[in-house]
C-alpha cells in the first residue's frame, strides 16, 4: 500500500501545494487523480470527485475525455515530457483537436496563442520546431502550453521546476501563478521544495509515508506548523535570510512504503510520541486553520502541541573569525580547464567547422584558508564541479596552478602533487547511489582510502562510528542503506586517509531536506572535531549560506564575486549574484509576487563576448560587450563587474 487514506480538496483558482520527501506518495496521489496509476498500482479504496462528479470509477475512455479537457498535467522533466519526433506545434494541435471542435487551422491559431501566452518568443517560427531545439526552460513552457490546450479547470503539476536552474525556476513559478490568476485554474503543485511552495501555494498539504499529515494555509504551515514532522521539516530547511548554528534534525529516515510501522507512521522518529501513537493511526482533525493527523491534537489529549524548535539566534561565526588570521591551505591561480568536444576530424573537415572547445573553467583565482568552509555556487554548467575535479587531481589543468599549502615548504602544485598529499585531499560526491561500488562491502569501500599500512578493522569501525553508523554496518552492502546513510559512508571513506581538506561536490543535493540537515550537521560537527577545511560546491544558495564562511559565485567558468558569507548575502554586488538571490525561492517569500528576470544560461560552447553575463545584465553597457571585467575588491568583496567598478550599481 503506497498511498493510504489521502483526503484533500482543491478549490477553483487555488494553488494547493503538496509537499513531502521522496517516497511520500505525492506523485502517486497526483497520478491517481488523472487515472494514470501504473500497474500494479490501483485505487483500492476511496473516491475522487471532480466538480461533484465521481471520476475514479470512470472507464479509461470516459476518463480520457476528462484528462486534458478538465484536468491538465505537467511533469517534472521538460526534457523527456515532449515527443522528440513531432514538432511542438503538432503536439499542441493534436491535443487541441482531441478536446475542442476546432479545424486544423483554428487549432493552429490557438496553439500559437498558447505559445505566446506561456512566453515563447517568436512563437510563429517556434511552433514548427522540434523539442530538442528548445532550452529546458522553454520546453517547460511548451509543456505548460500543452497542459493548457483545452483550458482545464485543474492542473496537476508534478515537480514542475525541479529540473530547472534557479533563475529559470523563478520564471516558471511566476508563469504558473500568473495563469492561475488569469484563468482561474486550480493547480495541484507537487514538490519537495518548500521554498517553491512558500512562494506559490495558497494552501499546503504535507505528506508523510503515504498519508497527509497536515493541511492548511501556507503561512500557518510554515510559521506555525503543528505536526511534529512538519515542525522538524521546517526546522531542517536552511534559509538565505536566517542564521542558525545547527539545523533541526529529524533522525532516521522515512520508512519505505512497503514497510510502514503500525500506528502513526511517524512515531519512530517523533520526539513527542506516546503510547497511542504506536497503536492507532491518526486521522486528520481540525486544529486552528489547519487540519492535522496527530494524536497530540486530539481532543481527548488537550494540551500544547510542539513548538518550532528553530533557534533564530544569530550565529557566532567562530570559524570565519579564525579564518582571517589562518594560513591559506589551497591557492588556485589562473586555473583554466578546457575540454575539446570537437566532432571527429572528418566531420569537421566536411562541415568546415573548427574545433569546439568548452572553457569549463576560465581563469579562476581564489584561496581557501585552513579551517574554513569555502562555498562555491552557480547554476548547472557553470564549471563548479570541474574546479573540484581539477583540485583533487582528476583533471590536469589546461593552465594555471593549484598549490597546496603554499606557505609551508613552498607547497606543491597540482601537477607535482605527490603521494603524501593524496591522502590529505579527499572528495565527497553528489550521488550516494553512484559513489559506492555496489559490489563492495562497506568495510572494503572505506578501507580503499585508508593508506595500506594502516588498514585495520578497528580503523574502519572507528570511521563508521565517526559518521554515526554502527560497527556491524561494515559487513553490509551499499544497497542495504538509505541515501543519507550512504552519504555517511561516503564521508567515512573520505575521512579514511585522515585528510585536511575535503572537497564536497553537491553532497546533499540528491537528499531529502530532513536527511540533508543530518548530513550538514554531521559535516559541521566533523569540521569542528577534526579541524577540516571544506570546499563546498552547491547550486543551493540556502545550503551554501548555512554552511560556508566564505562564498564564491561562478558564472560560465569564471568567479564573478566572492566574499564573506554574511557580506555577500546581505550586500550582493554583482548583478548575477543579485539575480540569484532574488530568484531563489525561500521560506521567507510567502506569497511574494514578482517579475523575474528574463533570459537564459548561454551555451558554454559559445559564451558571450566580454562579460559573459552581459546578455542578461540590466546594467549592460558597450564596454561589457567587448572587455572582460577584472576582479576588484569593494568593501572586502571581490567582484568582477564593470558596472560595480564604475559605481553604476
Amino acid at each position: 500500500m503506497a498511498v493510504d487514506n489521502v483526503s484533500m480538496q482543491i478549490d477553483r483558482g487555488e494553488v494547493l501545494g503538496v509537499v513531502g520527501e521522496s517516497g511520500a506518495g505525492k506523485s502517486m496521489t497526483g497520478a491517481a487523480i488523472i487515472g494514470l496509476l501504473e500497474a500494479p498500482g490501483r485505487i483500492a479504496e476511496g473516491e475522487i470527485l471532480f466538480e461533484g462528479q465521481r471520476i475514479d470509477t470512470l472507464s479509461d475512455d470516459e476518463l480520457r475525455v476528462i484528462r486534458g479537457r478538465q484536468i491538465g498535467a505537467i511533469f517534472q522533466d521538460p526534457l523527456t515530457s515532449l515527443n522528440p519526433l513531432h514538432t511542438v506545434g503538432r503536439q499542441i494541435i493534436d491535443t487541441i483537436v482531441t478536446h475542442l471542435k476546432l479545424s486544423q487551422r483554428q487549432a493552429r491559431a490557438r496553439a500559437l496563442e498558447l505559445l505566446q501566452e506561456v512566453g515563447i518568443p517568436a512563437a510563429k517560427e517556434r511552433i514548427d520546431h522540434y523539442p530538442h531545439q528548445f532550452s529546458g526552460g522553454m520546453r517547460q513552457r511548451v509543456v505548460i502550453a500543452l497542459a493548457l490546450c483545452a483550458d482545464p479547470k485543474l492542473i496537476i503539476a508534478d515537480e514542475p521546476t525541479t529540473a530547472l536552474d534557479v533563475s529559470i525556476q523563478a520564471q516558471i513559478i511566476a508563469l504558473l501563478r500568473k495563469l492561475c490568476d488569469e484563468h482561474g485554474t486550480a493547480i495541484m503543485l507537487i514538490t519537495h521544495d518548500m521554498g517553491v511552495i512558500a512562494e506559490t501555494a495558497d494552501r499546503v498539504a504535507v505528506m508523510y509515508a503515504g498519508r497527509v499529515g497536515e493541511i492548511g494555509p501556507v503561512a500557518d504551515i510554515i510559521h506555525k506548523p503543528k505536526l511534529p514532522y512538519t515542525v522538524g521539516l521546517m526546522g531542517s530547511i536552511p534559509s538565505i535570510t536566517t542564521e542558525v548554528d545547527e539545523l533541526a534534525q529529524i533522525d532516521g529516515a522515512m520508512p519505505r512504503l512497503n514497510a510502514v510501522p503500525p500506528g502513526c507512521r511517524f512515531h519512530p522518529r517523533c520526539a513527542h510520541a506516546f503510547e497511542r501513537c504506536h497503536i492507532d493511526l491518526p486521522e486528520l482533525i481540525k486544529a486552528g486553520s489547519s487540519e492535522v493527523a496527530c494524536w497530540l491534537y486530539d481532543e481527548k489529549k488537550p494540551g500544547k502541541g510542539p513548538s518550532v524548535s528553530r533557534k533564530e539566534t544569530a550565529r557566532k561565526k567562530k570559524a570565519s573569525a579564525k579564518a582571517a588570521e589562518a594560513l591559506p591551505l589551497v591557492k588556485v591561480d589562473g586555473l583554466k580547464q578546457y575540454f575539446d568536444v570537437s566532432p571527429p576530424w572528418l566531420t569537421r573537415v566536411l562541415e568546415r567547422s573548427g574545433r569546439q572547445i568548452v572553457k569549463a573553467v576560465d581563469d579562476l583565482e581564489f584561496t581557501i584558508n585552513r579551517g574554513e568552509t569555502f562555498g562555491l555556487v552557480g547554476e548547472s554548467g557553470c564549471g563548479k564541479s570541474t574546479v573540484a575535479r581539477a583540485i583533487v587531481g582528476l583533471y590536469t589543468p589546461t593552465a594555471g596552478t593549484i598549490t597546496y599549502m603554499p606557505g609551508e615548504n613552498g607547497g606543491a602544485t597540482a601537477k607535482e602533487r605527490v603521494a603524501e598529499f593524496d591522502d590529505k585531499i579527499q572528495m565527497i560526491f553528489q550521488d550516494p547511489h553512484a559513489s559506492l561500488n555496489p559490489r563492495w562491502k562497506v568495510a572494503d569501500v572505506i578501507s580503499e582510502s585508508i593508506p595500506e599500512d594502516r588498514v585495520s578493522a578497528d580503523r574502519v569501525a572507528e570511521l563508521l562510528r565517526q559518521v554515526g553508523l554502527a560497527d556491524a554496518d561494515g559487513e553490509k552492502y551499499p544497497h542495504e542503506f538509505s541515501g543519507g546513510q550512504r552519504q555517511r559512508i561516503s564521508i567515512a571513506r573520505a575521512l579514511g586517509g585522515e585528510p585536511e581538506f575535503l572537497i564536497c561536490d553537491e553532497p546533499t543535493s540528491a537528499l531529502d531536506v530532513s536527511v540533508q540537515a543530518q548530513i550538514l550537521n554531521l559535516m559541521v560537527d566533523l569540521q569542528r572535531r577534526l579541524g577540516l577545511t571544506y570546499l563546498f560546491i552547491s547550486h543551493d544558495l540556502a545550503v551554501v549560506h548555512h554552511i560556508s564562511t566564505r562564498v564564491g559565485v561562478m558564472y560560465l567558468g569564471r568567479l564573478v564575486e566572492w566574499a564573506e558569507t554574511e557580506r555577500l548575502f546581505a550586500n550582493p554586488q554583482h548583478p548575477y549574484t543579485r539575480l540569484l538571490l532574488q530568484s531563489v525561492p525561500d521560506l521567507s517569500k510567502i506569497g511574494m509576487r514578482r517579475a523575474p528576470m528574463a533570459g537564459e544560461v548561454p551555451n558554454p560552447l559559445d559564451p558571450p563576448s566580454g562579460c559573459a553575463f552581459h546578455p542578461r545584465c540590466p546594467f549592460v553597457q558597450d564596454r561589457c560587450l567587448s572587455e572582460r571585467p577584472m576582479s576588484i575588491e569593494v568593501d572586502g568583496t571581490h567582484v568582477a563587474c564593470h558596472a560595480v567598478e564604475e559605481g553604476r550599481v
Binding site: Q426, M427, F429, Q430, H433, A434, L436, N437, W440, R493
Partner: protein, 316 residues
Amino acid sequence: MSEVQIPDTSPARPGLLRQIWQSDLAHSFRQSKVTVVAGIISFGFVFIALFAPWIAPSNPYDMTGISVLNAFLPPVWMEGGDSRFLLGTDSVGRDILSTIMYGSRISLGVGVAAVFFAATLGISLGLISGYIGGRTDAAIMRVAEIQLSFPDILIALLIDGIIRSILGPGTHGNIAFIVVISAISLAYWVQFARTVRSTTMVEKGKEYVQAARVAGKSPGYIMFKHLLPNVMGPVLVIATINLALAIVTEATLSFLGVGLPPTQPSLGTLIRVGNDFLFSGEWWITIFPGITLAIMGLSVNLLGDWLRDALNPKLR
C-alpha cells in the same frame, strides 16, 4: 517516481545458501514455472554432460563395442527393437541414446568453452576499450564494427574455413574441436566487448570510480577490482543467451559438414548424418538428436531470457 530503483543484482553473502535461496533473484526464479522447468532441464543436461561416460548405456566412441550388424535397429517400442538400444541404433550400429548423451556432452562442452573464450576475450577488450578510450578504443571498436558487418554464422564458417586451410585437411579430424571452439568464440566476442565497453563507460563516469582515482588507484586496479564485478551482470545475461546461440551455431556448422566429425559426433553431426535416413523410415536417427538439440537450446534460452528480465529492473 523519483525514487531510484536498486537493481537486484546484489551478490549473496558468502557461504550462505539460504540467502541465495531468499535473494530476489532466486525469488523471481521460483516465480516462473517455465523458468524452473528450464532450469531443471538445463541442470539435467549439465549432469548428462559431466557424467555421460558413467550413465550412458554404451560408449559410442569405443569402436570395439560396436557391431555394424546392429545398425538401423528401431527404438525399443517398435517392431524389431532391441532392449539393449532404447532409442534404436544408427547407421553403424551405435546406440542412439548413448550417442545423444555423448553428443549433448560435446555440444554443451563446445558451447561452454566457446562462450568462455569469447567472454574472456570480449571482457578484456571491452574493459580496456571502455576505460582507456581514445585510440585504443577506436581501434578495437573499428575491428568490432567490421566484424559486426557479418553475421556470427558467417564469421564462424569463415574462421573455420581459414583455420582448416591453414592447418591443412590432414589434421582436421583430430583438432576439429579447437577449430570449432575458436571459430565460435571469435564470432561471438564482439557482443561481449561492446556490452562491457558501454557498461564500463557508464560505470567509469560513476563517482565510486572517481573516488578510487582520487585514492590514487591504478587503472588496472580500477578495471579489475571496481569495474569487472559491475559489468558481470550484463555479461552473465549475454553469456547465457550466447550459450544457446553457440550450441546452435556448433550444430549448424556440424550440419553443414564443417564442424565436428562423425566419429565424435555432436548433436548437429548426428542430425546431419541421420538426415540421409529421414525419408527412408529410420527417422529416429535424426529426430531424437533433433529434439534433444531443440530442448537444450530452448531451455538455455529460457534461462537467459529470465536472467535478462530479472537483472533488468526496468522490465519489472
